[in-house]
């Protein structure tokens, strides 16, 4: 893998995004360093999911710049500040470096677990089928689902589907993983199995950006926590500091709604 250790993995510069008249992101700037786990918290409608989706260009930003290992994503900004949209092939290539796991899994229901995992490596990265199969088996071992390799997604529980979705994203050997409220659609009993896999990934040094409502998890796993509201970063820093001593009234109010037994 071609890595550029001196650059931040993700660099977001002055990001703006509007939906019609509604401004969702209002000039957000931050970096995510290699191996860092950034957790993003915030109230509903604060723009956290939109921001995450911008990081692999599922949402197209209206202003600012996103760099993945120094390489612009979506638009190139020319010297005269005009923006030129990248070609679809270029965007697809950049996306293949950024794994994403969704709230509702988004597994392909017409293919079994093995095919879900091997489809993209074979068709996008042109990995040989037997090699892709071996990697799928290895990843399923890792997420504890090797016995489900020939099942169709509809035969799996929510937690199992989400673990397959994580394995599918990892099969592309991404440089960074994005997690968009991946436990929000799960039965509370199934949340733990997904968080365990994510924790394991974090310990292995995977760069991760996690949008979550799981405060305890954000506290335990992330290196840095960011609280956003109205499309702006209100506070960011070490999770323990932020959660124990919130500086802004808005974060204090937000945290008040959660049980703070972990503090």
């Amino acid at each position: 893998m071609n890595t550029k250790p001196d650059m931040p993995m993700i660099c977001v510069k002055d990001l703006y995004k509007n939906f019609g008249d509604l401004s969702v992101l209002n000039g957000m700037s931050f970096n995510v360093n290699r191996g860092e786990v950034l957790a993003i918290i915030g109230p509903s409608g604060s723009g956290k999911s939109t921001m995450l989706r911008c990081l692999n260009f599922l949402e197209e930003h209206d202003g600012g710049e996103i760099l993945i290992e120094g390489e612009p994503l979506g638009y190139r900004v020319l010297e005269d500040q005009t923006r030129v949209r990248q070609s679809e092939a270029e965007i697809a290539r950049l996306r293949s470096n950024v794994g994403m796991v969704f709230q509702s899994f988004n597994l392909f229901p017409h293919r079994n677990v093995r095919d879900n995992i091997t489809m993209a490596p074979i068709s996008v990265k042109h990995v040989a089928k037997n090699e892709a199969d071996q990697r799928a088996e290895m990843l399923l071992e890792k997420v504890g689902l090797i016995e489900k390799i020939n099942e169709f997604p509809s035969r799996l529980s929510g937690g199992q589907q989400q673990r397959v979705a994580i394995a599918r994203a990892l099969a592309m050997e991404p440089k960074v993983m994005l997690f968009d409220e991946v436990t929000s659609a799960l039965d509370p009993e199934l949340v733990g199995e997904v968080l365990t896999v994510m924790q394991q990934l974090a310990e292995e040094g995977m760069t991760m950006v996690i949008v979550t409502h799981e405060m305890q998890f954000a506290h335990d796993v992330s290196n840095r926590l960011m609280f956003i509201d109205s499309g702006k970063i209100i506070e960011e820093g070490a999770p323990a500091d932020i959660l124990r001593n919130p500086a802004s009234a808005r974060l204090q109010e937000f945290l008040h709604r959660f049980r703070t037994s972990f503090l």
Partner: protein, 223 residues
């Protein structure tokens, strides 16, 4: 028992079977060629129909609306009497097939479109997030799922197509319905003949429907 058999005219029908057989074969041929034509026509139309460019989608929408909202019988007449006027004197069989295939192709185009649009946007996102281009996502993720969605409505449409083949009798093709009418003109046994013909259409459409249900069940069982 003999009275009942005679009431339904089984003996009479049996004596006329060779005439019906010729008509049945022609009906089957028209139905099969028209089905193939309609399925292909729908596939060719659905791409431009779903284009974001109104320059591309507009003419297809116009075509679909025109063909869907005018009677098939009229289109059969137009192709039979109109095509020779523009230098295309085709056989009655071909004219009938073209008219049926183009009308049902327009309906199928809309069925395909609805089937593709019914696949969740999240499936697109799942595929794109893995680095697939829109084209790869379409062929590997979206269309296979859309296919499962459209099998039942395609089946309905093609059952209607089978029944619509009777309309080509209007341009003198001696298919099943017209062969029956000719037998009636000679014998006056209208009740027995129409009942028999209805039973043959029922056999054709229900066996086709059963085949499609089998396909549908197999496809759904894989998910």
């Amino acid at each position: 028992m003999e009275v009942i058999i005679d009431f339904f005219g089984f003996n009479f029908i049996q004596s006329q079977l060779p005439r019906f057989w010729n008509g049945f074969q022609l009906t089957l041929a028209i139905a099969l060629v028209s089905m193939l034509g309609a399925v292909v026509c729908g596939i060719v139309l659905v791409g431009p129909r779903m284009s974001n460019s109104s320059m591309v989608a507009g003419p297809v929408i116009g075509y679909v609306e025109l063909v869907r909202n005018t009677p098939l019988l009229l289109q059969i007449y137009l192709s039979y009497f109109g095509l020779p006027l523009i230098g295309l004197p085709l056989s009655a069989f071909l004219c009938g097939v073209i008219a049926i295939a183009s009308q049902h192709g327009a309906f199928l185009c809309e069925i395909y479109r609805a089937g593709i649009e019914a696949v969740s946007k999240k499936q697109w996102e799942g595929a794109l997030a893995l680095g697939m281009t829109r084209k790869k996502a379409k062929y590997r993720v979206i269309l296979p799922q859309a296919f499962v969605n459209v099998v039942p409505p395609i089946g309905n449409q093609l059952v209607i197509l089978i029944k619509d083949t009777s309309l080509v009798s209007a341009i003198g093709i001696i298919e099943l319905t017209l062969s029956g009418k000719m037998v009636i003109e000679r014998s006056g046994a209208s009740f027995e003949v129409f009942l028999f013909i209805a039973a043959v259409y029922l056999f054709l459409t229900s066996s086709f429907g059963a085949g499609l249900r089998l396909l549908e069940n197999r496809l759904r069982a894989r998910q």
